[in-house]
Symmetry: C2
């Protein structure tokens, strides 16, 4: 729903926490493009960034240092300044009456905080309204989870899903603006015959791929993989779906790709699967076998829709219940800022 | 087996067809490093490359134009000049008495030509000897197939494998030296703010990934994916193993990576799987969860061994029969030239 359609609602006071980061930057772009009904915009960041200026709505806006008093009168606060800041200041913002939409993982498994992909489980936000005393905290899922569910949820609605095997091809942006710069500067160095200088990532990123850099559990799965499993279960309210993930960083700037293998509960042909995906909101199908033209991260970059292609029956599973998909989505947009703004738009209904 | 150990055998006449290509170059490096017993080396290529010189064994060697007469007296001919050249001249070389080791896909599904990974199915070469009238043609498998089987075969021997879901992260080298140069030059252009110039691949390769560029079947699988299925079945002599593959090109120069999900016939714990892999010839395990250190394509580049890590139980499969692996292997070396030279070494026993 586009906020422009909401009619007479009074403009809101909106805070963006972490406005100088890669996702913060995208928050401002998405809020502006979607004409979110902002009366007052507060850009909040650490003391280090306070005083810097960012453009929004055609004028310059000064970044303020976030304090415990920053959230008085705020209707909606978008947080994207990392888990510790969300944990410390999210509840303060909510206590001041704001609806917090949090892009970190701090509250994703908190049963009091809905975890929402608007196309998948908007009902999880039932009962949350703007202006309620005590506010609310709504968690924005992990980027890889959102992008996968955008493609898999319509298939699940049509035929059920009992198991998912997913391998990701993840962009630099998921680790922030500095990681994107590390990919760029390392690539310059390697092309010049100089050694790569790993700073954010432990391994060389230029012309290389590596296992996702998030913390490792004792069972050998990194946190990104764990998030894909646990968040999908929570969003679907169904932990019986078997999910196994392998998360890999590839030298791409800002869109993730995912190779997804599904076991369905009942057979679904390729043609039916394509029809289901073509009808799904927020999904664009690119599946041109004749021209070997399928989604790429570059196609998905700066796009709102998640791109799906390579839709084909998995012959290794008997009975027509196997299906392969290849999915690409902009990590900063649907994987982060867009999904969060769409969550806030649900409050305008 | 190292050829140096073969004792009194008389040095062989060896031909390398396609000596100027990326794999041809690697053939010369591997033959030299492994001290393959070469008496006479013939470098063969198209008329266009004839007269060029390449270094081997400390001296310069002139490339000859390949003709139908080129194979008289040749004991072993390594072919890597594309399928059409293999189809036209492989049988000519064999008729002249050579054992042809062919790196193209021309003979891989020919029941008269064994398809061999020396660590997996050396027995397929039984009955083939040097100097036999009518020679022989032995097919070198596809790079992605070899790299996968190097990791999966030891697990299969220990616990059986009923299904494989594999997603690849494939390097430029699989499409030849010009593709590696395309990745380099496109990256230079993109970093300079210029548009990428796709020539070999239809899509931008710099900072992008795309579905493998091989020809597409009507069922939506590209030839690279089909090869991984059919060649694995043939090498194992077991087409009951369910295999589904998604093959993707990533902006990496010369080593492939593969995310492999296995369904085993009987449970195999992580510790046992690691032990099995550590004992496997041609495999090096890199699996350091504490330091988040696992195989990368850069680690595998210019290495003989296939690297395996991220060995972990797949919790989405009940009964302990699910296992995930991440595999990296040098596409030009074990994925092509090294495997072919190892095939020839089996003839020296």
């Amino acid at each position: 729903m586009n906020a422009a359609a909401t009619g007479t609602r009074k403009p809101l006071t909106v805070a963006v926490v972490g406005a100088t980061g890669a996702v913060g930057h995208e928050f401002l772009a998405v809020l502006e493009q979607r004409n979110f009904p902002i009366g007052t915009l507060k850009l909040l960041a650490s003391k280090r960034s306070a005083g810097q200026k960012l453009r929004f709505g055609g004028r310059e806006q000064v970044i303020e240092e976030m304090t415990e008093q920053s959230f008085a009168g705020v209707d909606v606060a978008f947080f994207s300044a990392g888990g510790p800041i969300s944990k410390s200041h999210g509840p303060i913002a909510a206590a001041a009456g704001a609806v917090v939409v949090d892009n970190s993982s701090a509250f994703r498994m908190d049963p009091k905080c809905p975890l929402v992909v608007p196309e998948v489980n908007p009902e999880a936000m039932a009962g949350i309204r703007l202006g309620q005393p005590g506010g609310a905290i709504i968690a924005n899922p992990n980027c890889s989870t959102i992008i996968m569910l955008m493609a898999v949820n319509p298939i699940r609605q049509a035929a059920g899903v009992s198991r998912i095997v997913v391998s990701t091809y993840q962009a630099a942006s998921g680790a922030g603006a500095a990681a994107m710069e590390e990919l760029r500067s390392q690539t310059v160095d390697v092309l010049a015959g100089k050694p790569a200088q790993p700073k954010i990532f432990p391994q060389q990123y230029a012309f290389n791929i590596f296992s996702h850099n998030s913390a490792m559990q004792p069972d050998g799965y990194n946190q990104e993989e764990v998030k894909m499993v646990k968040e999908s279960h929570r969003i679907w309210g169904d932990s019986a779906v078997g999910i196994t993930a392998t998360c890999v960083r590839v030298p791409v700037m800002r869109a993730h790709a995912e190779s997804v293998n599904l076991t369905l509960k009942k057979p679904l042909g390729e043609a039916e699967a394509l029809e289901v995906l073509k009808r799904a909101p927020g999904v664009t199908v690119i599946d041109d076998r004749g021209n070997n033209r399928f989604p790429t991260p570059l196609d998905a970059s700066h796009k709102d829709d998640v791109l799906v292609g390579r839709v084909r029956t998995d012959h290794s599973q008997p009975g027509g219940v196997g299906l392969n998909l290849f999915v690409c989505g902009d990590q900063l947009r649907k994987g982060a800022a867009l999904n969060a703004v769409q969550i806030a738009e649900l409050l305008l209904r």
